[in-house]
Amino acid sequence: MFCRNQTTRATVARCSALEMEIRRGRFRRSVFLETLQDSDIQKKIDHEIRMRDGACKLLAACTQRDQALEASKSLLTCNTRIMAYMSELQRMKEAQVMQRVARRSSEAGPTDDRRPCKGKVAISDLRIPLMWKDTEYFKNKGELHRCAVFCLLQMGGEIHDTDMVMVDRTLTDICFDNTIVFNEASPGFDLRVELYSCSSEEDYSAGSTPRKLASKLSSSLGRSAGKKLRAAVDPGAGSPTGGGATLLLPVPATRWPALLSGAHTYHLLAHTSLSLAHVQDNFRTHDLITSGNEECTYWVPLYGSVCCRLAAQPDCMNQQMMSGCLKVKQLGGDPQSSTNVYGVLKGTNLSCYHRQEDIESNVEPAFTIAINKETRIRASEKDPDSNVQSISISNLYGGEEVTHTVSADSRQETHRWMEAFWQHFYDMSQWKQCCDDLMKIDLPSPRKAALVTSKQGSLYHEMVIDTAGDIGTVTDILTRRMQELELRSQLGTSPPWMSLFAESPGRQRSPRLAGHSPRTPRRLPRSPLSPSRCPRPSLLSSDASLTSDSDSPCSTSPCSRHGGLAEPLSLPSSRFRPRTLSLDAKLSTLRGRGYGGALQCSCQPPTSSLTPIPAQRVSQATLSCSSSTSSNSSSEGRRSPESLDSSPFSRPSSARRSLRSMRAKLDPRNWLQSQV
C-alpha cells in the first residue's frame, strides 16, 4: 500500500476531513491511494519495454526476411501496448485528480455507481476480401508483389495481434484464423481493428539494394520497380522512419540500416471500430476505413470490408449472479404450499434446486423461473404471517401470466435478492442482444498438426514424419504402421472400394494345365473374405501366419533349403548396397532383422485346395508366402509384388495380387522385382 516511488498521497491523516468522508462511505479509500492496479500497469509497462528491446535487437540481428517481419510485428505490438498502458495510467491519475477536485468543489452526492457487469468479447474468423485488378490476376510473368499483413485488435488496455499472413495476387481474401478473446469488456466497449501491412519485396532490403540497384541500373528499371524506388527514396510516402536516404548506403555489416530504411516497418492500411451493436452470433460484414493509396509500397487492394464473427458473453449470462435459499410459492397453484428451494440466478433463469448440493451433482433444477426482459419483478406487501417482504416475479408464458412469489429468510436476504434482480435487469439492458442467448465462444485451442490424408499407395504416402531426417523415428513409425496394418488385415476390415476389385465369390476354378491363363487354382468356393483382405499383404509380418502354415506338411527339399534363405541373402545384400543408408535400406534392415530369421516353411505352398481349408487360414497362408518372399527380396532393400503368372510360392487371390501389383507398379519409388 505504501509505495516509495509513487508520488500521490499514500496515507490519510487521522481525524482529517478526508478520513471522515471516507468513513461515511462516500469515497473509496482506494481512489486516493496507489492501488494494486497502478503497480500492475507499471509492471506491464516494464514487461513490454523489455519485449520491445528484445524485438529491436532481434530485428537488427536477424537475416531472414520472415524473421525480420515477425520481429517488426512484435515491435509494433509492443509499442502499441506501451502506449495503451501509459495512456491508461495517465487516465487513472487524471481520474484521481478529478475525484479530488470534485470532492473539494462540492458535496458530491451518492453516486449511482451501478455498473453493468463485465463480459467476454471474442472476435474470430477475420476475413478481408481483396480486389485485385483482373490484369493482376492473370498476369503470369513479373515478380509477385508480396506483402506481409497482420491485424492489431485493441480494446481498452488489451491489445492482441493476429498471426502474420503473406499476401500476393494469388490470394483472394486475407484470412486470419486466430480467435481473440478479450476478458473484462464492458458493454460500451470499442474494439479497434487495425490492419497493418509491409511490403516484402526482395530488392528492398538495404543490404542487397546496392547490388540490385547496380544490376537494375545496367538494365532499365521497370515501372513497378521504379515506383518502389521512388517511394523508398521519397520519405513522404508515409514511412514513419523516413530513412530513404540510407537506401544507397554501401553494404552494412549489420542490418540496423534495414530497420531505419523502413524495409520492415509496418504501415497502417485500414482500420475500423466495432462495438456492441456489431455483436452477433453470426458472421457479419463491416466497413473498413482505408488509408494509403496505390502508390504506397505497402498497398494491398482491399475490397473495403471485413468479415468476422464478434461474439460477447456477459458475465451475467454465464456466471452465478446470486444464489441463496428461497421459499417459492406459485400464485394460482396451491396457495398454501410454498417450496423451499435453493435458487440460483444465472443467465435468463432463476433455477431452483431442491438442495444446494444438487448444483454440483448436476441434477436438474426442480423448476426454473425465467428472468428476462419481459419479466416483471416487484416487491410485494409484507406477508402478514411471516412478516417478511416477498418478491413477486411475473412472466408471460404463452399469453398466460404466471406469478411466482419468492421470499427469503430474512429482510437482508430479500433486499439482496432485489438488488441482484435490479442489477440483472440493468445488465441485460446494457448488454442488449447479448443477453438473449448465450453466445458460444470457442477458446483458441493449440494448433494440431495437419493430419496427412492416407492415400492408398505405398507406405511413404501414409507416413507422417515430424522430425526431419531422423531415420530412427521414421523406422519407428514404419514398424508401428506395419503392426497396425497387420492388425487391420487380421480383423478383416477393408476399404469399401475393395469391393470393386473383389472377384465374385463362388467362382471355382479347377486346376488347369499349363498354357491357360494364370489364375490361381486354389480359390476356394467360399472365400468371400479373401478378396476383401487388406490389400497390403506384402507388408505383413509373417509371424502371425506361420502358425497356420505349420499344420500343412512341408515337402522336404524346398522347405529345408528355404530355411536358410535369409542367411545367404543378407550377406550379399550388404555387399551390394553401395549407397548411403537411405530409407529403403533402413526399411530393409528392419525387415531383414525382424523377419529374416523366421522363415521356416513359409515358402512352402499350401496343399491342394480339395481339403476345405478355412478362408482365413488360406489367406493367411498365402499372405505369409507373399510376405516372406517380399521380405526376402526386400532384405535387399526393395519391395516386390508377386508375379502374377508363375509364382509357385504363393497363391494370393488374383484380386489382391492385381491390386498390389498395380499399386506397386504405379509407385515410381519402387524398384520392381518379379519372381520368375
Binding site: 491357360h516 534363405l565 545384400s573 529403403d584 526393395r638 516386390s640 508363375s646 522385382q673 520368375v676
Partner: protein, 123 residues
C-alpha cells in the same frame, strides 16, 4: 557394363540354359529380376553404372533351376531365347521369361567377373 545409347553393346556373356521346373501347373525358373527401362535405375544395387536400365538378377532361389544352371545373383540378362533384354520394360522382361509354352529358356547373361576372367586370360 555401361553403354552409350545408340551404340552397339559389347559384353562378355555366358550362356545359361534353364529348364523350367514344373510345380503343379506353374513353371518356375527360380530367380527374381529387377530393373527395366520403366524403373528407376538408381535403386539397382547390382549395376555398376547407375543409369543402366537393364534387367538384373536380384535373387536366385537355392536349389532352383536357375541356380542349377549357373545363374548368379547380380547377373545382367542380355537376351532371353534370342529376345533382347537390354531395352525392355520390367513387365516385358518378365513376360519373356515366363512364357507358358516354353520349357527351356536360354539366357545370355553378363557379369563383371566374366570380363575380368577374360581379361586375365588374355594377359
Amino acid at each position: 557394363m555401361s553403354f552409350i545409347p545408340g551404340q552397339p553393346v559389347t559384353a562378355v556373356v555366358q550362356r545359361i540354359e534353364i529348364r523350367k521346373l514344373r510345380q503343379g501347373e506353374h513353371l518356375i525358373l527360380g530367380f527374381s529380376i529387377g530393373g527395366g527401362i520403366d524403373q528407376d535405375p538408381g535403386q539397382n544395387p547390382f549395376s555398376e553404372d547407375k543409369s543402366d536400365k537393364g534387367i538384373y538378377v536380384t535373387r536366385v532361389t537355392p536349389g532352383g533351376p536357375a541356380e542349377v544352371a549357373g545363374l548368379m545373383m547380380g547377373d545382367k540378362v542380355m537376351q532371353v531365347n534370342g529376345w533382347d533384354m537390354t531395352m525392355v520394360t520390367h513387365d516385358q522382361a518378365r513376360k519373356r521369361l515366363t512364357k507358358k509354352n516354353e520349357d527351356v529358356v536360354r539366357l545370355l547373361v553378363t557379369r563383371k567377373s566374366l570380363e575380368q576372367a577374360v581379361r586375365h586370360s588374355m594377359m
